[in-house]
């Protein structure tokens, strides 16, 4: 006991002496190692979110390097395309009156050679800041269908929602990262504008609660390197800086595919995707 006290007094002296030393902090980081790890992942997640460009407004497109490459390709469905059911629009006579022929569900839209439309093709990660263009992306409600069925825009880029029908539509977007919204558009020709602050690369659904068959998919991209396959299955991603990338194709029914991709300066590269179905 005496010994302990004596040593405590020694400690006194040391403490006074150590007033200006405070080194050796590194070792202490060992504390709750798990915590630190989590902290790091959290930081990474947070910075990813924060590097997203805030609405640029200026509309100046991203500076295109002289070396920029172009990626083009075609998405195909290997299996025979499933027979899409005809939409039952009887619930709203107006919608029915807008179509003479039966309208098919747009879940799977294929060309004659199995070319798959409405596939989101994008580069997974690209470094650098890409200010959003100020030109709006338009989604039109026309004939009680969304035009287009698949769309993407950049973080901060305005989305114009238009109702071309003389009936009530409500646009109910179901994003998981951005705040969801559900707005009624009772007036023909009405236009609302929305912006998305955070990237949401996996497309989310947009629905109309009045017309259960109406569906669209939308993605919010942190960069401009994306494309949506056309009716002939083709897509083009232009102005891509040279480098190594992962290119992803996403379809609402057939899910996701990835490919590794290296593009050189000014290269025009072809990448094709085939979904098994």
């Amino acid at each position: 006991m005496m010994m302990k006290k004596f040593l405590n007094v020694l400690f006194a002296a040391t403490l006074v002496l150590s007033v200006h030393c405070g080194k050796g902090k590194e070792a202490s980081r060992e504390e709750e190692g798990q915590d630190d790890q989590e902290a790091q992942t959290a930081t990474v997640a947070a910075t990813t979110a924060s590097t997203a460009p805030v609405a640029a407004g200026g509309g100046a497109a991203a500076p295109v390097s002289a070396d920029a490459a172009t990626v083009t390709g075609v998405v195909k469905l290997a299996a025979a395309p499933p027979k899409m059911p005809a939409l039952q629009m009887a619930a709203d006579p107006y919608c029915q009156s807008q179509h003479t022929a039966p309208v098919l569900d747009e879940e799977v839209v294929t060309g004659p050679g199995g070319e798959l439309a409405n596939v989101f093709v994008y580069i997974k990660q690209v470094s650098g800041n890409y200010p959003a263009p100020s030109t709006p992306v338009v989604i039109d409600q026309h004939g009680c269908q969304y035009r287009p069925h698949a769309l993407a825009l950049q973080v901060g880029q305005p989305l114009q929602i238009k109702n071309s029908d003389a009936t009530l539509h409500n646009i109910h977007a179901l994003p998981s990262v951005n705040p969801q919204f559900n707005e009624g558009q009772p007036v023909q020709g009405m236009v609302s504008t929305k912006k998305f602050d955070k990237p949401e690369i996996t497309p989310f659904r947009i629905k109309c609660d009045v017309h259960g068959w109406m569906k669209a998919y939308m993605a919010v991209m942190p960069h401009p390197f994306y494309s949506i396959s056309q009716g002939n299955g083709s897509f083009t991603i232009a102005n891509l800086p040279p480098g190594q990338y992962t290119i992803v194709a996403w379809h609402e029914k057939y899910g996701q595919q990835e490919q590794q991709l290296t593009v050189g300066a000014k290269e025009s590269k072809a990448v094709n995707f085939t979904f098994k179905g």
Partner: protein, 1111 residues
């Protein structure tokens, strides 16, 4: 003087001097050591380190501030000051002249001012003299009056002169100011620019250990006003029990935890979490306009923490939930609640070990305990988070380890079923409620009293199942259903595990356990009633039955699968309870129900469970006979034949005899006991043993068993278990073991939390290495808890303390809260959250209904939405109104008592801050409002989804269209159901009241101002709307401007809509008559065997004698 003879003495003066000198030095050193020992305290080091951290932070802020300061602007100002000084010097003669002029006029002004003041005084005096002499009619009256008039004229001259001189002086001053003023304004500007830097410099002085700070902290001088000092908070209404008296808490934790209430010292992990939280609040307009700037600043601060090179460590971290605790604006400010009220620990201690810190895991314990030397703690250890810590068995209130922090909520929040933002504690108390811990362990606490029995009624067991099934079930319930809450009593670790029980004892234990299970089954079946349940009249369709079970709402409380794919391994595995929401564990897992029981019983049970057992928690889903037959047919297909194949060993008569005798010898002599047993056939012996075994294991605590009413629950009372001293827990001889649940190694730490955790996870563990007789072994059954479940139950046990809290600090004690809490308890007891969102949580059924359009309603706004009389009727008898007739899921009939229904209605009304009764139904509506409302209704095309034709509330027609996703409630029912004010509010902000609702937002908020915008503002002038415009104009007396203004006013428009909806509402609906739903209850037949005579000895008798009997 003659020198004195030296006095001869027989001791050496030299020696004495030496001793004196040495002891003086010794005493001086001892004094020094005492002062030093008193001076050196561990907490000073933490304070010094914190000062260093602050210093670093201020210095970096200072650098940033200096960078920010506009250098060019500053230099420009300095230059101009210099230029002006040069200018003055150059025109010195002019400046001096101006200054001289000013001096002269200042003098003149002073003189004039003096003259003026004296003259005024004299004038006043003269006026009195003149007045007095006139009134008194003295002879000098006229003279005095003349003198007064003369002085008055003189005074007027002086006033004019003073004004003249003042003007001249001001002119002179202005001339001088032209020279000086420039310099002064520029110096002011300079101060403004450097204000933040100056402030930081001032702050820096307070955290630097130099100059005055150094002297203030010197030993012996530090009694004045040292910067190192013990900080404390005195809490006069939260008490520490020091045996025989309660003293106020004095929390000194902040002596070391310096930054606990200062934002800016969060860990990186917390900073990331908070950033996300605040950003979300900003995005969703939850923060008032004037506070947005503050929140943005805070986010910037947190971002800096995330980007900082080093993480802040404890004890210097900020409390991670300042908005909830510690913060001055939080509900638990530091000055009112301190620290130990929630965390426990020794409030007055200022040393790590004495404060009662408890490590959360064995790994943490090893780190804390390590040190270079336990005798010499210091920075070399502190820097590595080594605290030379050792368990202090004499500390009666150690802190809660990290995973049990929320245990501290219970002492003040025990009057609440639902603690706002207390996710963990809510889950913990719900887990205790679900498992029914309160049934065996009395918990004298509002939260855990007045709850239902956790197990089913056993008085009709023979009607339901067979003795063979019951035997196998009691033996090992988990073999039948992996998710069951019925615990395993038999063949547990302390009875049969070869690693702890030697072989011969094991053999005997198995025979004894077999005999006990046989006795339980025999007893229960011999006492059971035998009511003749009728099987369904027609054949059921299992396919339709499956559809019904999956769609009418069964899945809110039940699970119907036992195998699922493990997310990690991808392999199929048995389901665990925590694979499903708590609510879906409320009922049993439906798998195997066809093996357990038979068609007639199921049919009558699903028709109405109250037929079988009046207190059955399951409500009636009002199935028709055909539906019930279909459901029965489906449930019968859920078979588990393999369960019935295990062998049942017949009871060993010797074992039955031994065990029965063991009870008899308590009151009889060995000889009499033997004689009595000889007279009993084996069946009777089993019935006798069964009765005693039910007592022994406490089956009656959870199950309703006739003859055991009013017995005390079997387990230890837990009311103040969290305050029980460590030495009262029997740790036995076990420290490490392999858990049978998951095969993982477990280490039992020397603290109460660890003891309880291991007890609930492996209830028989403390029998390891003990020598006990069969009857003395631990009896607590095994619930096969997962780690999380065990942790949550431990949390509640630790939180049940005898800590005294003044009533003012108790949560939810006011009368309104009491009403709400009673309702919340009923919500929890009837599992309302299985289907509905209540208090923002619940709707477990959502995962089983594919289309979110067909979910049961979110009840978050129910109090402000539904009229109380309607709600009362509907809860009593949901058939009075079908709001959405196209839904498959049904609101069941619970057969609530009037009192229960009132409790629930009151809860909703209070939660919605709405009066229970109002006069809105009788409101008179102006005809114009209705017409305008109807027009707005048409313009917004509300009828696209809402049905408007009046219907019979009880039997509205099923919708004719195939696609029902777009249907919305019939608005003619609104007047009976909805509150008047709520309707308009709902139309304005549906997505804010129920996020994700299908009701579209027609009046979106302006992102900048937060006000509502109207879509009709623009539309009214379009050609499409011409007809509406012409319909509306007469109601605005033809005033187009007024019409347009109204069309932009969302509040006015929604009020018109409400008036219109009100005007079309039907006024009549049937009153609740739930009794019509209840089929005739069958009378129970007499049991097959005569009732047992009352117990002659043992537990029951002791209880009746009023002495109780703790086991």
């Amino acid at each position: 003087m003659k020198p004195q003879e030296p006095i001869p003495h027989n001791y050496s003066m030299r020696g004495l001097n030496l001793i004196f000198a040495l002891s003086s030095i010794g005493l001086l050193m001892a004094t020094g050591l005492i002062v030093g020992y008193d001076y050196v305290r561990g907490w000073k080091w933490f304070q010094r380190e914190f000062m260093r951290m602050q210093q670093e932070r201020i210095e970096s802020d200072l650098r940033a501030a200096q960078l920010e300061t506009n250098k060019t602007q500053l230099a420009d100002l300095d230059r101009r000051v210099r230029e002006n000084e040069v200018d003055i010097a150059r025109h010195r003669d002019q400046y001096v002249l101006a200054q001289k002029d000013l001096d002269r006029w200042e003098g003149e002004h002073y003189a004039a001012d003096q003259d003026f003041r004296f003259a005024k005084a004299r004038l006043d005096a003269q006026r009195y003299i003149a007045e007095a002499s006139v009134v008194e009619k003295r002879s000098d009256g006229p003279r005095q009056l003349a003198e007064y008039k003369r002085q008055d004229r003189h005074f007027n001259d002086l006033v004019l002169r003073l004004q003249d001189v003042t003007r001249k002086r001001d002119a002179a001053k202005a001339r001088v100011d032209v020279w000086l003023g420039k310099i002064k304004t520029e110096e002011d500007k300079r101060k403004e620019l450097t204000a933040s830097v100056d402030l930081l410099n001032k702050q820096l002085q307070t955290v630097q250990l130099t100059g005055p700070n150094l002297i203030l902290n010197l030993p012996m001088l530090d009694f004045v006003n040292p910067t190192f000092k013990v900080d404390q908070v005195v809490l006069s209404d939260l008490f520490v029990d020091v045996n025989y008296m309660h003293v106020p808490r004095v929390d000194r934790c902040m002596t070391c935890h310096r930054a606990i209430d200062r934002p800016g010292f969060e860990s990186k992990k917390e900073a990331a979490r908070l950033t996300q939280e605040l950003q979300q609040k900003l995005d969703s307009f939850q923060i008032a306009q004037e506070k947005r700037k503050d929140v943005e600043d805070r986010i910037a601060q947190l971002k800096r923490i995330e980007d900082a090179p080093q993480d802040t460590l404890n004890p210097w971290r900020t409390h991670p939930k300042l908005d909830l605790f510690v913060g001055s604006a939080s509900p638990h400010p530091l000055l009112d609640f301190g620290c130990t009220a929630c965390h426990r620990g020794q409030d007055r201690a200022t040393e790590f070990g004495r404060a009662g810190h408890v490590p959360a895991s064995p790994r943490m314990e090893r780190r804390w305990a390590s040190a270079v030397s336990t005798l010499l703690p210091g920075p070399w250890d502190y820097n590595k988070r080594h605290w030379a810590w050792e368990e202090n068995p004499f500390n009666e209130t150690p802190m809660y380890p990290r995973q049990y922090y929320e245990a501290g909520c219970i002492k003040c929040h025990s009057g609440q079923t639902w603690v706002d933002q207390g996710d963990e504690i809510n889950k913990a108390t719900s887990t205790v409620e679900l498992y029914g811990c309160y049934a065996c362990h009395k918990i004298n606490n509002w939260r855990f009293t007045d709850l239902r029995r956790p197990g089913p009624d056993l008085n009709g067991i023979a009607e339901k199942t067979t003795p063979e099934w019951a035997f196998r079930w009691i033996s090992e319930p988990h073999n039948f259903r992996s998710t069951t809450r019925m615990p395993s009593f038999f063949y547990q670790r302390n009875m049969i595990d070869p690693s702890v029980v030697p072989a011969p004892e094991r053999e005997q234990n198995i025979r004894y356990q077999d005999a006990e299970i046989h006795s339980l089954v025999t007893y229960l079946f011999s006492k059971s009633s035998h009511r003749p349940w009728q099987p369904p009249a027609g054949a059921g369709d299992a396919g339709r039955g499956k559809q019904l079970v999956e769609s009418v709402g069964c899945m809110a409380c039940h699970i119907d699968s036992e195998w699922l794919k493990d997310e990690k391994s991808g392999q199929n595995r048995l389901a665990r309870r925590d694979d499903y929401p708590l609510e879906r564990n409320y009922g049993f897992n439906l798998t195997g129900v066809g093996t357990k029981t038979h068609a007639a019983w199921i049919y009558n049970w699903v028709k109405n469970p109250k037929n079988y057992y009046a207190d059955a928690p399951m409500p009636s889903l009002r199935l028709t006979d055909q539906e019930a037959a279909d459901v029965t047919a489906f449930l019968l297909t859920l078979q588990k034949p393999q369960f019935m194949t295990s062998t049942i060993r017949p009871p060993d008569p010797a074992a039955v005899h031994d065990l029965a005798k063991g009870y008899l010898v308590n009151t009889l002599s060995d000889r009499d006991a033997e004689a009595k047993l000889r007279a009993m056939p084996l069946h009777d012996q089993l019935v006798f043993l069964g009765q005693r075994s039910i007592e022994k294991y406490g089956c009656y605590s959870c199950h309703n068993i006739k003859g055991f009413e009013g017995l005390k629950p079997i387990g230890t009372e837990l009311t103040v278990e969290g305050s029980k001293a460590l030495h009262l827990f029997d740790f036995g001889f076990v420290h490490d073991y392999i858990s049978a649940e998951d095969g993982k190694h477990e280490h039992i730490q020397d603290n109460v939390a660890s003891w309880v955790y291991n007890k609930v996870r492996n209830p028989r563990i403390y029998d390891d290495k003990r020598t006990k007789t069969y009857g003395d072994k631990l009896k607590m059954p095994n619930f096969h808890l997962t780690q999380d479940e065990a942790r949550r139950i431990t949390m509640v046990v630790l939180g049940l303390t005898k800590d005294l809290v003044a009533p003012e600090k108790m949560a939810a004690l006011d009368s309104r809260s009491r009403l709400m809490e009673e309702g919340r308890k009923r919500v929890s007891q009837h599992n309302c959250r299985g289907c509905h969102v209540v208090d923002g949580k619940g709707r477990a059924i959502a995962s089983t209904i594919a289309d979110t359009n067909f979910l049961p309603p979110d009840l978050s706004p129910e109090g402000s939405r539904a009229q109380s009389p309607w709600l009362f009727n509907f809860l009593k008898d949901p058939t009075v109104m079908k709001i959405r007739p196209w839904l498959n899921v049904r609101m069941p009939t619970f057969h609530f008592t009037d009192q229960e229904t009132n409790t629930l209605v009151t809860f909703f009304a209070e939660e919605g801050k709405a009066a229970q009764f109002d006069t809105m139904r009788a409101m008179h509506l102006p005809a114009a409002n209705v017409v305008i409302g109807k027009t707005v209704f048409d313009m917004l095309r509300c009828a696209q989804c809402h049905v408007m034709a009046p219907v019979d509330p009880e039997n509205p027609p099923k919708p004719t269209v195939a696609d029902t996703t777009s249907l919305a409630p019939n608005l003619t029912l609104a007047k009976l159901r909805l509150r008047h004010d709520w309707i308009a509010d709902w139309i304005r902000r549906p997505n804010e009241m129920i996020p994700g609702t299908r009701m579209p937002t027609n009046f979106p908020r302006d992102a900048a101002t937060g006000g509502f915008q109207s879509p009709l503002a623009m539309a009214i002038d379009t050609p499409q709307f011409a007809q509406y415009k012409s319909r509306l104009l007469p109601y605005f007396r033809g005033d187009e401007k007024e019409l347009r203004r109204t069309m932009t006013d969302a509040v006015a428009l929604t009020d018109y809509l409400r008036d219109y909806i009100w005007s079309i509402g039907i006024n009549q609906m049937r009153a609740a008559s739930p009794d019509g739903e209840v089929p005739t209850v069958l009378q129970p037949s007499t049991p097959a065997t005569p009732a047992m005579p009352a117990l002659k000895s043992g537990r029951l008798e002791r209880v009746q004698a009023g002495r109780g009997g703790g086991r």
